[in-house]
């Protein structure tokens, strides 16, 4: 059994009057609060939400653009719907592993938009993802798009955000992360802010379904 610290033993008798009462109040709050929790390794470092301002991005080389466009075309044909398999199944973290691909298509809110999302196997509980997107319009002000993990048909967990700037290349490639335990049937959408400010926002890109 843990002994409770005794205020008089801790502070002694030097402090008196108002100062002693001030210390006693802090002492009582410490007892009421209890110990702070041990931080798990996943929370030791501040997360990187992968927000990119295209003003700071280097222009993607033409060769890369061609490759991305090819990958996009292949993915649209290759993938119809996407379901993440059993997350315990992915043990390979070797370089050069093949990611799973999800094709996203624009909703009525962004009919010209399309994208591919590549998801690699988890590393230490994090699922690296790369989104290649074309055809999304620039949003007003400082607002930005958000990438959401969809679970049970609803946006469930945020994986990152990005902006489109006037100077952005046709195909924008961004790196994100899903710090969640992925489950069978999970998918992703891209949203833009709702005028009301409610979250998640309006879906502009969703997975292609069969």
């Amino acid at each position: 059994m843990t002994r409770e610290p005794n205020f008089d033993e801790l502070i002694g008798t030097e402090e008196t009057g108002a100062e002693r009462e001030r210390l006693r109040h802090a002492h009582e709050l410490l007892l009421q609060a209890g110990p702070p929790p041990e931080l798990p390794p996943s929370l030791q470092k501040a997360p990187n939400f992968g927000v990119f301002s295209l003003h700071h991005r280097r222009v993607v080389k033409r060769r890369t653009l061609v490759l991305l466009a090819a990958a996009l075309s292949i993915a649209v044909v290759f993938v119809a719907g996407y379901a993440v398999g059993n997350n315990r199944g992915g043990s390979s973290t070797a370089k050069g592993e093949t990611p799973r691909l999800l094709a996203l298509t624009g909703t009525q809110a962004a009919p010209n938009a399309r994208a591919t999302l590549a998801v690699w196997h988890a590393r230490n509980g994090n699922w690296p993802m790369r989104l290649s997107v074309v055809g999304l319009p620039k949003l007003p002000g400082h607002t930005y798009y958000e990438v959401y993990l969809v679970r049970n048909g609803k946006p469930w967990g945020q994986c990152g955000a990005f902006r489109i700037a006037r100077s952005s290349p046709d195909t924008l490639t961004l790196t994100f992360n899903a710090p969640y335990s992925l489950q069978k049937g999970d998918s992703w959408v891209v949203t833009r802010p709702n005028p009301s400010g409610a979250e998640p926002g309006q879906t502009v890109l969703r997975a292609v379904t069969a």
């Binding site: 801790l10 410490l30 009421q32 110990p35 929370l43 710090p179």
Partner: protein, 205 residues
């Protein structure tokens, strides 16, 4: 025959070497100043703010969600919300600590809703001995304030306070454990408690 002894292990955080005299988080910026910088997508400011608040947010999430995995997710979501919404913070409307508390609490409540009702829906036959919602809310708020304030005091003072309050050790045992004179432990405890009281008094939620 092997005998397993249950010895309470004090939980310690890294404390700078004896010669170092750095401020707790290498920044004198106020929370409001940091939030303004985060609103402009300043990654360094975000990391300082994260260091100050990750423990209180995790503590709050654990209290509300009762599950470490869900609490970890909730912390990520809370800081994602802070990153996204920092530019909407207006100092004239209230203290930064209160704004951060609200954003974190909302993210945790959202997570609670998404998790759905508990799987065990049977009603208990006896009244629960646990505190009611009002008391739980007050406890959560006190825990937030205290854990946040602990991040403000010198690491050496924080260390002796954490040992004195939550390791079960007496001050003599703390002194022996840290290899310090008893007088030094007593001085650090007193000055740490005084600083903590000062931070708590100046804090508005």
């Amino acid at each position: 025959m092997e005998i397993a002894l249950e010895v309470p292990q004090p939980r310690l955080r890294a404390v700078p070497a004896e010669t170092a005299h750095e401020p707790p988080d290498a920044s004198d910026s106020s929370d409001a100043e940091l939030l303004a910088r985060v609103g402009e997508r300043d990654r360094d400011a975000f990391e300082i703010l994260y260091g100050r608040y990750v423990r209180p947010v995790f503590s709050l999430a654990l209290r509300r969600l009762g599950d470490r995995g869900h609490a970890e997710d909730a912390v990520q979501e809370a800081f994602a919300a802070i990153w996204r919404s920092a530019s909407t913070y207006r100092p004239e409307r209230g203290a930064a600590g209160g704004w951060l508390y609200t954003v974190a609490r909302n993210a945790i409540v959202d997570r609670l809703r998404r998790n759905g009702p508990p799987t065990d829906t049977e009603l208990p036959e006896l009244a629960s001995g646990e505190p009611g919602p009002a008391q739980q809310a007050e406890d959560a708020e006190v825990s937030w304030r205290v854990h946040r304030a602990l991040e403000e005091i010198e690491p050496r003072e924080r260390e002796v306070i954490e040992l004195a309050y939550w390791s079960g050790m007496s001050q003599s045992e703390v002194a022996e454990y840290l290899g310090l004179p008893l007088g030094t432990v007593k001085t650090r405890t007193r000055s740490g408690l005084a600083k903590l009281a000062e931070v708590l008094e100046g804090e508005v939620l």
